[in-house]
């Protein structure tokens, strides 16, 4: 068994739902290993420290339990996945300057961001893989597993928005 620390954020389609009303049932469903944030109307966030066989089963069981209590809850984001430079630094325990330097000195091989603008965003999993395999940094395997699993989860959640016809067209040209 391995412990995984992650956060899941959900919203309720009906914003009049008070997140507080679900607390007791979430405890009964098994979410008593999470700190639950109820500070925003129509939303709930759960910060888990969950023991499981794998990151995937930790995420899966958590969502299953939450959905059993709040069937219409919609996943907003699973973390850690989308990260900026400061987040990366915090996760691996280096300074932001250090990570920034590493990126600038390795522009050819550093994973390209998924968004570049006033700030840049990466999938944490791609950066951890690069740090470990490309640079030999000591990166916790369970953290890598978790980041891969949260990325898959966030992608799966977004895929509901795909239009099947347009998606098939883009797939053909992208692959």
């Amino acid at each position: 068994m391995q412990e995984y620390e992650f956060t899941l954020k959900f919203n309720f389609p009906d914003p009049s739902h008070t997140p507080e009303s679900y607390l007791d049932n979430l405890a009964l469903a098994g979410c008593d290993d999470a700190l639950i944030g109820i500070g925003q109307q129509g939303r709930i966030a759960l910060n888990f420290n969950r023991e499981a066989e794998s990151a995937l089963s930790a995420l899966y069981s958590a969502i299953e339990q939450i959905k059993s209590v709040i069937p219409d809850a919609q996943l907003i984001e699973a973390t850690p996945d989308f990260v900026g430079l400061s987040d990366i630094a915090e996760v691996v325990g280096y300074s932001r300057q250090n990570i920034r330097k590493l990126m600038l000195n390795n522009q050819a091989s550093f994973p390209p961001p998924i968004h570049e603008g006033s700030s840049a965003l990466w999938h944490l999993a791609t950066v951890l893989d690069w740090l470990k395999e490309g640079k030999g940094y000591a990166i916790d395997d369970s953290l890598r597993d978790l980041a891969k699993a949260t990325m898959q989860l966030n992608l799966a959640k977004e895929s509901f928005k795909l239009d099947p016809v347009i998606n098939a067209k883009f797939n053909a040209v992208l692959s």
Binding site: E3, K9, P19, E20, L23, D24, A27, L28, D32, D33, A34, L35, I36, G37, I38, G39, Q40, R43, I44, A45, N47, N49, G84, L85, S86, R96, S118, S119
Partner: protein, 86 residues
Amino acid sequence: MPRKSHPKQEIEDALRYAESHGWRVDVGGSHAWGKIYCPYNDKECRCGEFCIASIWSTPKNAGNHAKQIKRVVDNCSTRKKPDNEE
């Protein structure tokens, strides 16, 4: 009158840590022992959902629950540091 202490010492320590950073602790609930309230529950606050966090009376693991509480308090106080994003 001082508030009721949490039965788990580690969690009580984390609650005092929260209080020392200006958080308010309210006792009440069933599975939920109480709640903590961020002192900066406003538009600029970065805690978001965790501006109000629910504290279990008997969490699965008291040590982890204490860590979770401290994490929320520490994440909140990051707003106090200068923002160094480019």
